[in-house]
């Protein structure tokens, strides 16, 4: 039983990381219907920025964290301006390819700038553990869970309660109509990319004590976060987190209870099964074309 709870908590923590990355996918998708395959690499870049500020320049953890988030928000805007804006409105496939290309580029550049070693960021809560009875919970994992809950709530409120959030949902529905209604669609898209890069950075920094930062971490985790977003139904913020947690729990349970090798495959098998039964994910909207 204790093993089970222990696995469950570590699965939830891992799942929250996937969920955070998946949130970035979902944000961009919600507002622009662009699937950003470079999301994991944005996370990796955010981690490296934070490492540069905290580990190399010796700034305070929180200042370095904020700096990395701000820098990455700007970078997200830049990426949107250079790569995505010229091809908005073209078939989804070309945009996917463009973001795959962007991912390649970021990964290689990060490898050239920071090298291919593993890096670690010292955090104020990387050492301690919380003991409840005989259950041992590491603070770094708890911090990920807490951050996910906070970010998810904030983003949900932002999307559903603020004017800007409504504008984003509108431009997702129909860019042209939103533009006619006086919504500055270009600026909205650019802000969405900034937010999604910032969320990715949060994931990267929180992840740093758990899995370390290296130039391929974005690819590895991005490929797990992507099923998470699909499982929850692309375009649903709570769905992304639920999907992430499910994938994380399945992975850690499969790693603990099943034979070696199942750990990496189990999430994908579950994903295929879910897609068979509910092709639009758990929380996705099913829309039929009107002719």
């Amino acid at each position: 039983m204790l093993d089970f709870v222990q696995q469950l908590v570590s699965g939830v923590a891992l799942g929250c990381v996937y969920g955070l990355i998946a949130l970035g996918f979902v944000l961009v998708y919600k507002a622009t219907e662009v699937v950003n395959f470079a999301q994991g690499d944005l996370m990796m870049l955010g981690g490296f920025f934070a490492f540069t500020f905290i580990g190399m320049m010796g700034l305070n953890y929180w200042i370095g964290f904020a700096g990395a988030v701000a820098a990455m928000a700007l970078f997200g805007m830049l990426a949107e301006r250079v790569v995505v804006r010229p091809i908005l409105g073209y078939p989804q496939f070309s945009i996917i390819m463009a973001t795959i290309g962007l991912g390649y580029f970021l990964r290689s550049v990060a490898g050239m700038v920071w090298g291919t070693d593993d890096f670690k960021i010292d955090t104020p809560f990387s050492q301690g553990v919380l003991r409840i009875g005989s259950l041992v919970l590491a603070y770094d994992k708890l911090s990920v869970i807490a951050a996910t809950v906070i970010l998810c709530t904030l983003l949900w409120l932002f999307f559903n309660k603020t004017t800007l959030g409504t504008a984003m949902r509108a431009s997702s529905e129909n860019m042209l109509a939103a533009y006619y209604m006086g919504i500055p669609v270009k600026r909205v898209v650019s802000i969405v990319w900034a937010i999604s890069a910032a969320v990715a950075t949060c994931a990267g920094v929180l992840l740093a004590p758990i899995t370390f930062i290296h130039s391929n971490v974005g690819l590895v985790l991005g490929l797990k976060a992507f099923p998470a977003a699909v499982l929850g139904g692309f375009g649903s913020i709570p769905g992304a987190v639920v999907g992430g947690v499910l994938i994380g729990v399945i992975e850690s349970m499969a790693g603990f209870y099943l034979a070696e090798g199942w750990k990496d495959v189990a999430p994908y098998i579950v994903l295929l099964a879910v897609l068979l039964l509910k092709p639009e994910g758990l929380f996705g909207l099913h829309v039929r074309k009107k002719v």
Partner: protein, 383 residues
């Protein structure tokens, strides 16, 4: 300029619309046939890879380009073909038999993948094919009694009609070329048949295709099966060319490479698969060539512009250091993909058509001829 006067539907779907086609493709075929006696053995080896990649490219074009079903799992189909060949070869099955068996088995698995894919669309289909590829990769690594696990499998040379065909011999090249040409001709015939027209109708609008009486599910599964089977055939040749296969060769990276083949070549015509394959296979030697020669060239340019001996040597050393940085190849790869999507969405073949049209219409060419329409209503989500 040539005007084609069509009086019949048969004229419209002819394999060779006019005699120019016969002449130009005949010359191309003749050049390809004398290639082994002219080119160096390294280039020949690259040419074999071009043939294999182009075959996969054609397969992917049937599925992605003409039926509109994106797939990032074709490395798995290639792996199934390759492993079937390697496994059957251990039991002394003759080449023609296991070649066909690999294609048929891969086709069946492709059809099985097609069934769950029926209900999926766009991004969901992409992720489903990625998942499928991951599962296959893991099976290959774990099913050790058949696949030898991570140690990989060796494959002996092809033995055809009692003759052993080494993987570097011209005969193996002719074999790959024959498979490619047969695939292309077969696909061209497929595309001008009712099946091919059904594929294109599904790509353009599933709802419209259904209301025209096309059995969408059947044709989607057919498209998956055909595409997978061709990839399986290519897999057999791939295995023989490498003579050693292991699971880590058939990763997502390879699937992305295949997508890049058709993206760079152009997704609307079979020419695209061949041009894209040439590009992907030749970019590696080209980058290596640049890496070796660029520092000297840049230093030479600097010297002619009045830089001293010392500065020129300095520049050469710096450029050489930059060129041998580890991830540079990946970065260039990424930039090429982005640039193609942004500025040449129709690919290399699209560029060729543009140049051709420019000269045909000489003073009257308009840029807007090839401009794609942007759609800001989210049509893909509620197709």
């Amino acid at each position: 300029m040539r005007f084609l006067f069509k009086t019949d539907y048969e004229d419209d779907i002819r394999l060779f619309p006019h005699s120019g086609y016969v002449v130009s493709y005949g010359i191309l075929l003749a050049l390809l046939l004398i290639a082994p006696y002219v080119l160096s053995s390294y280039l020949m080896s690259q040419l074999v890879f071009v043939c294999i990649y182009a075959t996969v490219g054609v397969a992917l074009l049937i599925l992605t380009g003409f039926t509109g079903q994106a797939s990032l799992g074709h490395a798995a189909f290639l792996a199934i073909g390759a492993y079937t060949a390697a496994y059957l070869q251990k039991y002394n099955v003759p080449f023609p038999v296991y070649f066909l068996a690999a294609g048929i088995l891969t086709g069946c698995i492709g059809a099985l993948v097609g069934f769950p894919a029926l209900r999926l669309q766009g991004i969901y289909l992409v992720i489903a094919t990625i998942s499928f590829a991951f599962i296959i990769e893991e099976i290959l690594a774990r099913w050790e009694s058949v696949t030898n696990g991570n140690e990989g499998m060796r494959i002996k040379a092809v033995s055809l009609l009692g003759v052993t065909v080494s993987r570097d011999s011209p005969t193996f090249y002719f074999l790959c070329l024959a498979v490619l040409v047969l695939t292309i001709v077969g696909t061209l015939n497929l595309l001008r048949s009712p099946t091919g027209r059904a594929f294109v109708a599904i790509r353009d609008s599933e709802t419209a295709a259904r209301s025209m009486g096309i059995n969408v599910a059947l044709y989607k599964v057919k498209s998956f099966a055909i595409s997978a089977a061709i990839t399986g055939f290519a897999g057999v040749l791939f295995a023989h060319k490498l003579s050693f296969i292991s699971p880590e060769m058939f990763t997502l990276q390879l699937s992305i490479e295949f997508i890049i083949v058709i993206l760079i070549g152009g997704t609307f015509s079979l020419h695209g698969a061949v041009l894209g394959a040439i590009f992907i296979v030749m970019i590696d030697p080209f980058l290596t060539y640049l890496k070796d020669d660029m520092p000297g060239i840049i230093a030479g340019i600097a010297a002619t512009f009045g830089a001293g001996m010392q500065t020129a040597a300095n520049i050469q050393a710096k450029v050489a250091a930059f060129a041998s940085l580890n991830g540079l190849k990946g970065a260039i790869y990424g930039i090429i993909i982005v640039l193609f999507v942004l500025f040449e969405p129709l690919g290399l073949y699209g560029r060729w058509l543009k140049i051709k049209l420019f000269f045909q219409l000489f003073p009257l060419y308009k840029r807007a001829t090839f401009k794609r329409q942007k759609i800001y209503v989210k049509s893909e989500r509620n197709r």
